[in-house]
């Protein structure tokens, strides 16, 4: 057993290793916080921050999450909540892709936007936030617009892609790139009181639920706007899907799309 392993076992209480002990171990043994986390989980111990994950996510599952890379494409309404939830869940690497900076009209719903960071790159704000809440998580920022031309490169090494985009055309490009490289994709979209979620696993095609009768890239959100709660609900449904895909759980939305109506509190399942 290595000295690090012995240290962790000696400092575990009821199977839990505190944040302070994890930080001490990283300093003392000159390894990254994430590597200490992996060592903790490999011994069936649990970083104390994840103790309320237990039963929902096992230690082995937590180790799988730590070794996973999730790309969040779009860091606005959906993306902000997704990054927050995936970082707290313990996904080891989050690739954040967005070309924009925060503007005042983002403040009504975009979790990462603050009065003090208007004008800041959304991906830079994401990196800052993740560093503050979970030092085991590495956020890789790409201040770039996703597209067919750079898609494969941006998604290199990624385990699951999450669609948090704000227009249909780029969504279709993302779904196509994911199909080409056999990458699972969790789709989400919102407008006003309404949202939808679907999961495209390798070999599947959810294009029918992304398509539209008209030609425009935008939907009814241009008329309805987006309030604070709709991105929170839809992003949370997406985060649950990502968790299940990463942990190979049954019961994903594979082959189905969930349509959410928060005005009338109705959830409709659409078979693809």
């Amino acid at each position: 057993m290595s000295q690090l392993d012995a240290y962790l076992k000696a400092n575990a209480v009821d199977g839990l290793v505190s944040l302070a002990s994890q930080q001490d171990a990283a300093r003392h043994f000159d390894v990254s916080f994430a590597k200490v986390e992996a060592a903790i989980l490999k011994h069936g111990l649990c970083p104390a921050r994840y103790q309320r994950n237990r039963q929902t996510v096992t230690c082995a599952g937590q180790l799988t999450l730590l070794g996973s890379t999730v790309a969040v494409i779009g860091c606005g309404g959906l993306g902000g909540y997704l990054i927050e939830e995936l970082a707290r869940l313990g996904v080891g690497t989050i690739v954040a892709i967005d070309p924009d900076v925060f503007e005042e009209h983002n403040l009504n719903r975009q979790l990462l936007s603050r009065v003090a960071n208007l004008g800041m790159q959304k991906v830079a704000a994401a990196a800052q936030r993740v560093a503050e809440i979970n030092p085991a998580v590495n956020l890789v920022p790409h201040c770039a617009a996703f597209g067919t031309a750079n898609g494969r490169e941006l998604l290199s090494g990624v385990t699951v892609a999450v669609d948090a985009l704000d227009n249909r055309d780029v969504r279709l490009e993302l779904a196509a790139v994911c199909r080409e490289i056999g990458l699972p994709m969790v789709h989400g979209a919102i407008a006003g009181w309404y949202g939808q979620v679907a999961t495209q696993l390798p070999g599947q095609d959810i294009t029918p639920c992304l398509s539209a009768a008209g030609d425009g890239p935008k939907g009814v959100e241009t008329k309805l706007g987006n309030p604070s709660f709709t991105p929170a609900v839809v992003a949370s449904l997406q985060a649950a899907e990502v968790c299940k895909v990463l942990l190979s759980h049954e019961g994903t939305l594979s082959g189905r799309m969930l349509s959410c109506n928060l005005l009338e509190m109705e959830f409709e399942e659409i078979h693809l």
Partner: protein, 74 residues
């Protein structure tokens, strides 16, 4: 022939969510969209009997048509 039209999300504003009505033979999805005064540019998913269809789909007796708006926001 009888067709049931189910509208979802914002398409319910000012319209009945579920209506069964009599339509002449040859009626298409586009005809019903026009009758309901739904802007085509706002339409996302269209299903007949739970299967995805296009605007030119000709309906038959007993069909259930569901129309959802295009949600594009993130």
């Amino acid at each position: 022939m009888q067709v049931t039209v189910k509208l979802f999300a914002s398409f319910r504003t000012g319209r009945e969510p579920i209506v069964s009505g009599q339509y002449p033979a040859g009626t298409t999805v586009a005809d019903i969209v026009a009758q309901k005064e739904i802007p085509v540019s706002e339409i996302g998913i269209m299903l007949v009997n739970h299967r995805h269809v296009a605007l030119d789909r000709v309906l038959v007796d007993g069909d259930v048509l569901a129309i959802f708006p295009l949600l594009g926001g993130g």
